[in-house]
């Protein structure tokens, strides 16, 4: 397994990454008082860096409020980041806007969690899938109709779906419509924000299979955001674990699971219920809740819940550094410095 991973990363190093994110920050102003003055900032994403290679899936895991969705929205440039840079195929897209951004809307697409809310309920499936072509002014009516039929076939929906409305479909089928829309313009990178969280288990596996199949066929890169580590590990080449706006650990999926270093990753893994009654886990349960990102703890943001916290943890924040024995495995914890 290790050999395979090494050769994969060797190959990746020769290619240039499709996406480079450096020290990205997204701070939302918090308005307070009767004059709505900005006193504090919600540091949803606070200094995140990573690369995504062509055809690779980067998994992003964390609990609610850790900033994983905000990060996804910064990359699709639905938000304008406060600081840092996003480089897509050698072009800095951090601060561009309007017309300049339009070509990137083709290349970077998004799949949302709730397919009922992300599909316009007054439009037919045909209208929904036609819209990307209209916006980007691609092809004539005939071409667009042909493409829509192709798209439906790719995601496994009958072609008669064109004249139907989203409410006539089940959750899994609606997510297929959302996926069809996201691949309509042959994108290079798709940000999948909790695409299977709202679905039942038997449907979830169908959608995961479809996403993996599409990636192979069209050489897509994914940023796959989810809270379920088992799902993320299944689909991802590399995984980053986020806590309060920062990446605390990142590596290939196998090492994150088998050689987890950060105490947060360890407790996250131990908290997952295993569908095997013989393994009633002797688990490490974290105390307390995630602190507010408006007023994060000093030092290491995890020290308030960390079972291994030391004195230095509360006043010095750790840096994300590579492990000496394995450079792709990075961890941000004083225990490994």
């Amino acid at each position: 397994m290790n050999g395979v991973n090494l050769s994969m990363s060797d190959k990746a190093e020769t290619n240039s990454p499709i996406l480079q994110v450096r020290d990205l920050k997204m701070h939302f102003p918090v308005k307070e008082g009767i004059f709505l003055r900005t006193g504090k900032y919600n540091k949803a994403v606070d200094g995140v860096s990573f690369d995504i290679q062509p055809g690779e899936t980067m998994g992003l895991v964390g609990e609610s409020g850790c900033g994983k969705s905000t990060l996804g929205r910064c990359i699709t440039r639905l938000y304008k980041p406060t600081a840092g840079s996003i480089v897509f195929e050698d072009k800095d897209i951090t601060n561009i806007s309007g017309r300049e951004l339009k070509p990137y809307r083709q290349d970077i697409q998004m799949i949302f969690q709730d397919p009922m809310e992300s599909l316009n309920s007054r439009h037919t499936v045909g209208d929904i899938l036609m819209e990307p072509f209209i916006v980007q002014n691609i092809g004539d009516k005939q071409y667009r109709q042909k493409r829509v039929k192709e798209l439906l076939e790719i995601v496994g929906l009958p072609s008669r779906s064109i004249t139907r409305y989203p409410f006539e479909f089940s959750g899994g089928q609606r997510q297929r419509i959302g996926i069809a829309r996201s691949i309509a313009l042959n994108p290079k990178l798709i940000v999948c924000d909790e695409p299977v969280s709202a679905l039942d288990v038997s449907i979830q596996s169908q959608i995961l299979n479809l996403l993996i199949e599409l990636q192979r066929e069209f050489n897509l890169s994914y940023l796959f955001i989810a809270h379920d580590l088992a799902v993320v590990k299944h689909i991802s080449d590399r995984i980053a674990i986020m806590y309060l706006g920062k990446v605390v650990e990142s590596s290939d999926g196998e090492s994150v699971y088998r050689e987890a270093k950060h105490p947060y990753t360890q407790s996250l893994i131990s908290a997952i219920p295993v569908p095997d009654p013989h393994r009633k886990a002797d688990r490490q349960i974290l105390v307390g809740d995630v602190p507010s990102p408006i007023n994060p703890p000093d030092g290491c943001t995890f020290h308030t819940r960390c079972p291994k916290a030391m004195d230095s943890c509360s006043n010095k924040s750790p840096q994300l550094v590579s492990l000496p024995e394995k450079t792709q495995h990075k961890v941000s914890c004083h225990l490994y410095e």
């Binding site: 288990v201 038997s202 596996s205 299979n209 993996i212 689909i235 997952i272 569908p275």
Partner: protein
């Protein structure tokens, strides 16, 4: 079987809808022994929540009706009770925890007031005593500085804390049965682990039985003694937790277990799936309800619903082909 705390026999619950009558729960039977945890698992629309609401007699009125069967709590048939008698059971003998703690709590009352209400309703106690018991209860469910929290409103608490308050309310009168309907679905994994552990601790402490409803087979494996697998309003399979997980005999149970990505599976390998979709309750098939998705369906499965057969001990399955499923 006679010493069961709760026994549900041939329960049928129907809803009157604009499109016609639908049978959300169709002839299901199971029992809960004192002190044990029974897990009910199934996908959305399988009738697991309706089962819980039927037991609590909290079906939306007038659409939802129990049209057949018995629900016996310590031998007393709950379906025959008047509403006023039922009010003495709810919160007192059976406590309930819902999925979304924000909607289960009243946003305009303080935590303390809501908790005390349960005690006033079921016990003849003074204000001071109620206050003391509330503090004790909040402390028991692991809420830090309970005296401060008593005066706070639900929106001031985090999701996990709110669910702890709901659990405190459900257990305030020390019921013999706690029904928890997806109690951790809205919570993060680390908080889920906390809440499941809390329920387990309280169960050991107070000796109540728990009926846990969830879609997560992992949660079932970790918490339950017995399991009921439901599909489209019927029981597909039931038995103790080892029988179900070691020897899943209904193709649906097997399909569910196979389709979960596990941490051990090879990344990007194809997951097995259950093809197709759950049939709509308005046009249920005459025969086996899983027939349209079943990998081992036969022509004969379409004719009549399969009977419930005993495999061994408490392990029962409703499938014509179960023996083939086992041998594979």
């Amino acid at each position: 079987m006679s010493d069961a705390l709760l026994s549900v026999d041939n329960l049928i619950t129907e809803f009157e809808t604009d499109e016609g009558r639908v049978r959300a729960v169709d002839d299901i039977s199971f029992s809960v022994q004192p002190g044990e945890t029974l897990g009910i698992v199934g996908e959305s629309g399988c009738g697991k929540s309706v089962t819980a609401l039927s037991i609590m007699r909290l079906l939306p009125q007038p659409m939802g009706q129990i049209v057949g069967g018995e629900i016996k709590l310590n031998g007393e048939d709950l379906t025959k009770l008047k509403l006023s008698q039922m009010e003495k059971i709810r919160g007192n003998k059976i406590g309930m925890v819902f999925q979304e703690p924000m909607t289960a709590l009243n946003p305009v009352h303080t935590v303390g007031r809501q908790l005390a209400e349960v005690l006033y309703l079921h016990k003849d106690i003074s204000k001071d005593q109620a206050l003391r018991e509330c503090l004790e209860m909040l402390d028991k469910v692991g809420i830090p500085s309970p005296d401060v929290r008593m005066g706070e409103y639900p929106h001031q608490l985090s999701g996990g804390m709110r669910q702890r308050v709901v659990i405190a309310m459900a257990l305030a009168c020390q019921p013999s049965l706690l029904i928890a309907d997806e109690p951790t679905t809205a919570l993060d994994v680390t908080i889920q682990a906390q809440i499941l552990e809390l329920i387990k601790e309280l169960q050991n402490d107070m000796g109540m039985a728990v009926m846990l409803i969830t879609h997560d087979l992992g949660v079932i494996a970790e918490t339950s003694n017995s399991v009921v697998v439901m599909y489209a309003g019927k029981v597909a399979e039931q038995g103790n937790v080892y029988e179900i997980f070691d020897n899943p005999s209904h193709p649906y149970t097997r399909g569910l277990l196979d389709s979960i990505p596990k941490l051990e599976t090879v990344p990007k390998s194809e997951l097995s799936t259950i093809e197709g979709m759950v049939p709509g309750l308005l046009d249920l098939p005459v025969g086996c309800r899983f027939e349209n998705r079943c990998p081992r369906r036969k022509e004969s499965c379409k004719a009549a619903p399969p009977p419930i057969e005993v495999i061994a001990g408490s392990h029962q399955v409703s499938c014509y082909e179960w023996s083939k499923s086992v041998n594979e």
